[in-house]
């Protein structure tokens, strides 16, 4: 069953990912992105990463996408107008993308070490306890330093978006 679930949700993720780009209305793109996030969560779960799967659902599919949609509605963004699509992009861009992804897929198939099949429930390193333990011991420094990164993002948003008070 596991490979079937993997194929199903991997297909949904890729199809919705393409749809994000193809849709003309921003809300449709945002909703496709929700589907990408949700199917990624299932893929994480299939590998036994329970905590990441839940975080993916709550943080990405929940919180961040709601913010996305709020912003789209606040800006009142309408349907995208397309005029004069670039032929250069079509002629060179599409084959380049196919070539890049195709060769990456090929190299990954041939070059990556084969570690056997993943079965749901086999691996128990992805629960909240294990992830929390790793974050506060082995990965303490990146965990703490990420807070600086977020602080800078906040300061930057304020610097670029504030109103002059005087």
């Amino acid at each position: 069953m596991d490979p079937l679930f993997f194929l199903l949700f991997a297909f949904i993720a890729v199809a919705c990912g393409v749809n994000v780009v193809l849709q003309k209305h921003p809300i449709s793109s945002a909703l496709s992105l929700v589907a990408v996030m949700a199917s990624l969560a299932v893929l994480y779960l299939l590998q036994g990463a329970e905590f990441i799967a839940m975080a993916q659902m709550i943080v990405y599919a929940g919180a961040i996408m709601v913010l996305f949609i709020f912003v789209i509605m606040l800006l009142n963004a309408g349907t995208e107008e397309t005029k004069g699509r670039s032929w250069m992009a079509l002629i060179f861009g599409v084959p380049a993308i196919i070539g890049l992804l195709g060769s990456l897929a090929y190299f990954m198939q041939t070059g990556m070490p084969k570690l056997g099949e993943v079965k749901f429930g086999d691996w128990k390193g992805g629960g909240a306890y294990e992830v929390g333990y790793a974050l506060f011991t082995q990965y303490l420094l990146p965990f703490e330093v990420t807070s600086v990164l977020i602080l800078i993002a906040i300061v930057g948003a304020i610097v670029l978006a504030r109103k002059e008070l005087d």
């Binding site: 303490l140 300061v155 610097v159």
Partner: protein, 486 residues
């Protein structure tokens, strides 16, 4: 599992420079509401104090070298060299922006806090032994840089610079992350020394490693503005506020070269022969595109932008040579480049005037008559950028091309030297305009040098001169630190 939640004393000491910078930046955010109106200069003074404290901490940490935080950080001579370099650049960036921020009536607290945060990220990059830490440090430095590039947000040129830098920078980071993910997939580790061990073992797919290395070269090539990923550099350096351009052209580039060297000399060293041709082409393209595009520029900031691409090319020549001498040469050149570029940009800051109206080469006309002291300092920086003997730039180029010759990269060395000759033309044009032409309106109305700018001009000039006459001290430090692959 034995729980060890508290870092040891040596962990704390080895992370002290970053801690000081981050704490000072956060302190500024707290003090901002009380002091930003009454004492705008206070924040600059505070950040200089923080930089000096961090500099001392970096030197103290070097007395106790080793890994920290479960091998995520490494403090060695290499890390200390780049920490000292980026902190010094930070100090000059602060000195050169006092008057500028005052002239443009900009907020000072956030500006200095962002510079402090950016430098803390760059120090972190210099001392990382792990791809995750490298990524976080790089993002701290990059996001602060994007915001700084658009700091005067009512200025359209600033907006353009920030947006371009942000979009292209995020895209490049994506490539770097993809490379990191592949490396983790191949080796099962993100720690550089463990990656080295895993790649040196037999049976590793070299094709896959090369793909990962190529993706990381795209990401890092963008950050060091090496061709063909150099498009953003002239636009950003031209559009950003002049002191920010001075900072962006030096500190993030030095830190990016630090991780470039560390990743490729330690982790990817077992597969070095596969990335040499890529770097060869990148080095040649960067030198050629940078120098030839700079020939036709009329805007000084844009010209310095193209020249910084060319200088990235020279440093890539040192990387291509894949030897300890090459690493030493790259480290020495980055120090010399930082000093001369900060100095040259400081003159641009001085000349620019309110709203940066006077940034054309023709605006420099007659500077030699009106302000001989400023003109003399700019002459030192320009001569160093050309690579004339008795300046830091000369020894920098000398060591780089010697490293290339010793690694049998004869053609690359010859093409590099020809490029230096082309570069001399557009640099000398600055001197001709400055000394041979009659004073322009801009130089007629020029104010005298402010104390902050004078410091940001005189100290780099002294540094450039010392590197050119007595390169031994810095060179020995770099040579002792260059053995990171061992």
């Amino acid at each position: 599992m034995p729980a060890n939640f508290t870092p040891s004393n040596s962990d704390l000491l080895r992370f002290l420079p970053e801690t000081i910078l981050i704490a000072a930046g956060t302190l500024m955010m707290v003090l901002d509401p009380f002091l930003s109106k009454s004492k705008p200069k206070f924040f600059g003074h505070l950040s200089i104090l923080a930089f000096i404290a961090a500099l001392l901490a970096a030197v103290a940490a070097n007395g106790d070298p080793g890994f920290a935080y479960s091998n995520l950080l490494i403090v060695d001579g290499f890390a200390t060299y780049f920490r000292i370099l980026v902190i010094t650049i930070g100090i000059f960036a602060v000195f050169s922006s006092y008057h500028y921020l005052d002239r443009e009536k900009a907020e000072t607290s956030e500006y200095h806090a962002l510079i402090l945060f950016a430098v803390s990220g760059q120090c972190l990059m210099a001392a990382s032994n792990d791809l995750i830490m490298i990524f976080i440090g790089l993002e701290i430095s990059s996001i602060a840089s994007y915001v700084l590039a658009g700091y005067l947000r009512h200025d359209k040129r600033n907006n353009e610079a920030a947006l371009k830098y942000f979009l292209l920078g995020s895209f490049a980071t994506g490539f770097l992350l993809y490379g990191v993910a592949l490396v983790y997939g191949i080796t099962g580790s993100t720690k550089l020394n463990e990656i080295h061990t895993a790649l040196a073992a037999p049976g590793v797919s070299l094709v896959m490693v090369s793909v990962a290395a190529a993706l990381m070269i795209i990401g890092l090539g963008f950050k060091v503005s090496g061709a063909p990923f150099q498009m953003w550099a002239p636009d950003v350096y031209q559009g950003a506020p002049a002191p920010v351009s001075a900072f962006l052209a030096t500190a993030p580039k030095a830190a990016a070269f630090a991780i470039f060297l560390r990743i490729f000399v330690t982790a990817f060293q077992p597969v070095a022969s596969s990335w040499e041709p890529i770097l060869w082409v990148m080095a040649l393209l960067s030198m050629t595109i940078g120098n030839f595009a700079a020939l036709t520029q009329t805007n000084v900031k844009r010209m310095l932008g193209y020249s910084s691409i060319a200088h990235a090319g020279y440093i890539l020549v040192a990387l291509t040579s894949r030897s300890e001498i090459g690493t030493t040469a790259a480290m020495f050149y980055l120090a010399a480049y930082a000093l001369m570029n900060i100095g040259a940009f400081a003159v641009v800051i001085h000349m620019a005037g309110k709203g940066e109206t006077n940034v054309q080469i023709s605006d420099l006309a007659g500077l030699g008559k009106k302000q001989p002291f400023t003109a003399a300092l700019l002459t030192i920086f320009v001569l160093s950028l050309i690579g004339v003997p008795l300046t830091g730039g000369f020894f920098g180029k000398f060591y780089i091309f010697r490293a290339a010759l010793e690694s049998n990269l004869v053609w690359l060395a010859i093409l590099g030297l020809l490029n230096s000759a082309v570069a001399a033309y557009y640099y000398l044009r600055l001197l001709v305009v400055m000394y041979m032409h009659d004073p322009s309106e801009a130089t007629e109305a020029l104010e005298p040098l402010t104390p902050g700018l004078r410091t940001a001009l005189v100290l780099p000039a002294i540094g450039t001169f010392i590197l050119g006459v007595l390169p031994g001290f810095v060179l020995n430090f770099a040579r002792d630190a260059a053995g990171i692959g061992k």
